[in-house]
């Protein structure tokens, strides 16, 4: 890799004088992206999503709580009920996602860290996975809800009364005697907050390094080195 390619990837160096003169301008994106990264890691410990199932014989409701890497709540009971309508156990859904999510978050953490370190527009590419993560979570979740709801065992005891369905990933649905209330939880909001802060960080990044880029470009075209 030529030096110029590397330079174009990493962006121009910031001179010590410039750093001394306008330190905050360069610190701001670093700090902002750091906050975004930390929020993303913290989100592992909070539920991303929950579904409350209400039915007459469950006065307190049943709740399934999804963390990025595991399921909690009344999973066993819900699985027990699901076998009557021929739905596969919840533990079989998104098993790859749950197994890999922590490593994906590690990767996103490192990529954001990378974005904070480079001084070029490539920073946008580096934060992209983290930026899209909350959205991706919902899309993936809805896919699994669709996949599980549509592929019911036709030989299940209650297959006559409960036809294939798709429970909404967010909001209210109805299955048999159950009303389902799905909503995003703290963890997802932390990840979404991380995305918003990442965008702010990118803008600050642009404000800090774009002028240096433009200056370097002008110098190149005018031949002033």
């Amino acid at each position: 890799m030529s030096r110029s390619t590397l330079l174009s990837l990493l962006g121009p160096r910031v001179s010590d004088d410039e750093l001394l003169a306008r330190g905050f301008r360069y610190l701001a994106p670093t700090v902002t992206l750091a906050i975004a990264r930390v929020l993303l890691v913290i989100s592992i410990f909070f539920p991303y999503w929950s579904m409350l199932l209400e039915a007459p014989q469950y006065p307190d409701g049943l709740e399934v709580i999804a963390y990025v890497n595991t399921l909690a709540g009344d999973v066993q009971e819900v699985d027990g009920l699901n076998h009557y309508i021929g739905m596969r156990p919840l533990g079989e859904a998104a098993s790859f996602e749950r197994a890999s999510s922590v490593w994906m978050i590690v990767a996103m953490f490192l990529l954001i860290e990378g974005a904070a370190s480079v001084r070029s527009k490539w920073a946008v590419l580096l934060v992209l996975p983290a930026l899209l993560f909350p959205l991706g979570f919902i899309v993936d979740l809805q896919f699994w809800l669709y996949h599980f709801g549509q592929n019911l065992d036709p030989h299940a005891p209650l297959s006559a009364s409960v036809k294939p369905f798709t429970a909404p990933a967010i909001g209210i649905g109805e299955i048999g005697q159950f009303r389902t209330i799905a909503r995003l939880e703290t963890g997802w909001w932390l990840a979404a907050g991380s995305s918003v802060i990442t965008i702010v960080g990118l803008l600050l990044h642009r404000r800090a390094y774009k002028p240096l880029h433009d200056l370097a470009a002008r110098r190149t075209t005018t031949g002033v080195a």
Binding site: V38, I65, T70, A72, G73, Q76, S117, P157
Partner: protein, 694 residues
Amino acid sequence: MSPRLSIGFLTLAMTIGVGASFVYNPPQAHAQETKKKRRKEAEAAPVVLNAAAVAELQKIATDRKLRIEDLSAALKTYLPSGTHDEYIIFASGGHSGQVFMIGVPSMRLLRTIAVFSPEPWQGYGFPVGEEILAQGDHQGTEIRWGDTHHPALSETGGEYDGQFLFIGDKANARLAVIDLRDMETKQIVKNPLTVSDHGASFVTPDSEYIIEGGQYSTPLGFSYASVDDYQSAYRGMVTLWKFDRAAGRVDQTKSFALELPPYFQDLFDAGKKASNGLIFGNSFCVESVTPGFKIGEVNFEAGCSQRDTDYLHIIDWKKAEAVFAKGGAKLVNGFPVISIKTAVDEGVLCLTPEPKSPHGVDVTPNGEFVVVAGKLDPHVTIYSTKKIREAIASKKYSGTDVYGVPVLDFDAVMEKQVELGLGPLHTQYDDKGYAYTSLFLDSAVARWTLGGEYASLHSEEPWKLVTKTPVQYNIGHLVTAEGDSVSPDGRYLVAMNKWSLDRFFPTGPLLPQNFQLVDINSPGTTMPVLYDMPIGVGEPHYAQMIKADKLKPWTIYPAIGWNPHTQSIDPTAVKAGEERVVHDGHDVTVYMTAVRSHFAPDRVEVTEGDNITWKITSLEQSMDATHGFCIGGYNINLSLEPGEASTIHFKAGKPGVYPFYCTEFCSALHLEMLGYLVVKPAAPDAKLTEATKQ
């Protein structure tokens, strides 16, 4: 912070975070908390009566001919659907051999707890629990009922702690231990000295001992002696059963008894606070007349009450414990007994006169007084425990009885006598300085004032009858809220009436008993009856009323594979995915699980005469998802509460096909939750073998 340093710091944070994420278990409690929050929000606001509401109530009252006191009683006792009672009664189930759990103030029966009798719903004795029932057999005779009398909640510092319940069986002198986490009987102890008892069970203030007082004197240890040798060979007794709280069992090796004169010991109570360390027990028939023995033309029961006084027994259990510890007890039928002589020599036992044929002996909450109810005397006699201690210390004896037991001078220990009415039996207390005594012949509850430090709690003169409320009919015991603990709550009283006569629709010649709820919340002469509850089982005696929030019962067993007998996970319990049938010669082991709506395996094939070990685990973890498991024709019915694991043994009987099924309507596919136990002939008949081949 320099960017480089911050990057290092963040990398560290991430490493810790990711590392932690692998050991971190998401809190299962989260769901429970949000549920509780929702439940709280749903609480209703009380009604504000407007003209329309008043009109509606008026219409109901007119239609149903209700008086204002009826409306008031209804409002005080009605519980809207889904709300819970403030207090729980654990009542003796009389001859049913059970305990009743009843809510107060609604007076709704919540459940029965099988204790001395087999009970199919709880799967008690069919055959799970049979080994507990068998602990109570008497000299090889199978006993499968009990005359349950006095329940006693375990206490800590004289307060009910909500952990255990003990109850005595009068007919067979037995004591049972019930664990209040799952409301199941864990142990039955047969008294090795006496056939029948009465004064069981009462506990010392920290449940160190459970007291079992005897009743009908016999030769101790089930030996024979002619009734003519009554005075020399027959004896009374009181047994102190050591309770091992950690094990949740009576420790029979650390228990002992005191030999007592052959008076018919009756009820007992343990001293508390000021009188901690003493046990009080009364008696009747100190005349020592015996059935078949006549004094002139007078029959036994009259002969039994010839003298004006019987004896209140005063026992220093801490001294008795020390005597037992230093080997002062002799073995009778293998059980350590402190003889009357040793007890007298060591200052363990003394007597004092009490009005004849008393019944209740009830220590006040502060331990200062003991109230003895006269039964055949219209008074209650109140003894000062302080005076008793002083009299013992200064040996103020009026003499000794014929067995050499010192008798404390009555006047030296008696504090007061209060005339209440006819047939006083039992006394309970409240938080306002009142005592409540049941009057059997008057068929009433008497409220009267205590003196001493209680005098400041009420506005009336101490030691006086305040009011009587008629109850229907023939009251035996009564119970107030935590009324025999060190801090009674008052509020409610339940009169446990022996007869109901006209109170309910006639149920044939055998009528229910009547538990009547009495409102004792207002001081003075207001004490109305609020509610009648028919008890259509047995003949209940005593009950105790505990604040509901002191009980912390499990709603499911703590883990799948739970053995309720050991209150721990059974390491051999069948796990999901390990279901199978193992044949080993004539021994067959069935490893089965139950979950809605399936038994796995659901076909079990054995051969006639096989010894079957059948292990079954409920995989359920959802409240109320109980499965039953019965095998028709085999007298087998188990109750598999969520998580419970059971093991039963039986022999395969005659060849045939025996359906087994879930006896609880567990789910929409309850009827489909079944299987076949196929018993093949031992010497295979060609035809049958062909028929069972698939």
